[in-house]
Symmetry: C2
Subunit: 139 residues, 2 copies
């Protein structure tokens, strides 16, 4: 499972990242909204609570969290960078009709391309596109 909020706070301390009020809110948002939100979604939602919040802060915070490997960047589609707190390897499915992004479990370690024998692999990503069951049933 995903790490709990408390565990994440500990992680930040371990990695010498100060936990400001804004960073705490972003982190909390990511743990509670594991729907791969965009910066704009995060900013818009948090702005309701923190009227002084700047979008730059959201960018900065996400960059910091990414640097310490607590957050993962997902680039399924151009022009919409999404953020995911789950660092575990899993695949993403984007519905081309409604835009929802679904997680799915995939045995990425099973992928052992012989072509990459001499390559150092840091990150593996799998994403599919298509139509989700809900949109299929509506059609």
């Amino acid at each position: 499972m995903n790490p709990s909020f408390e565990e994440l706070k500990k992680e930040l301390n371990l990695r010498n990242v100060n936990l400001s009020y804004q960073r705490l809110k972003v982190l909390k948002y990511l743990t509670q909204n594991q729907c791969h939100p965009t910066v704009d979604q995060i900013f818009t939602d948090l702005h309701k609570d923190i009227s002084t919040l700047s979008k730059t802060t959201v960018y900065n915070t996400l960059r910091v969290l990414e640097e310490v490997d607590l957050v993962r960047v997902i680039t399924i589609e151009e022009h919409e960078t999404r953020y995911d707190i789950n660092v575990e390897n899993h695949g993403h499915f984007k519905c081309e009709t409604c835009g929802t992004i679904y997680d799915f479990s995939v045995d990425i370690d099973f992928l052992t391309p012989r072509d990459l024998d001499k390559f150092k692999i840091n990150d593996k990503n799998v994403y599919f596109k298509g139509i989700c069951p809900r949109c299929l049933s509506i059609e």
Copy 2:
């Protein structure tokens, strides 16, 4: 193997896409430069031959070619949409040091996530990040 240039021209006719001079040049470029170029790379190189070429035309052409499934969009990294004429399923490896994108063969059909039983899958993508052998040896 990849389709030949002549075959691609036939494909365009089949799909009722007019083959203008500019489109022909872009298509030719993609078949001869299968290095997943960006729009800017395509435009800059072609501009040497066609001084009147507009970057908008490159965008438009790529969109048309994508719509008829002759070209595939690769989004490995944010802010750099890349184009690939090879529609066959294969994986991409991006070297985080030199930026080169390598192809590798991967048995994508082997990926049969049970989670996606009821999903209609149109497109499968696999991309890895890490360091390529050349950069490893230089270090």
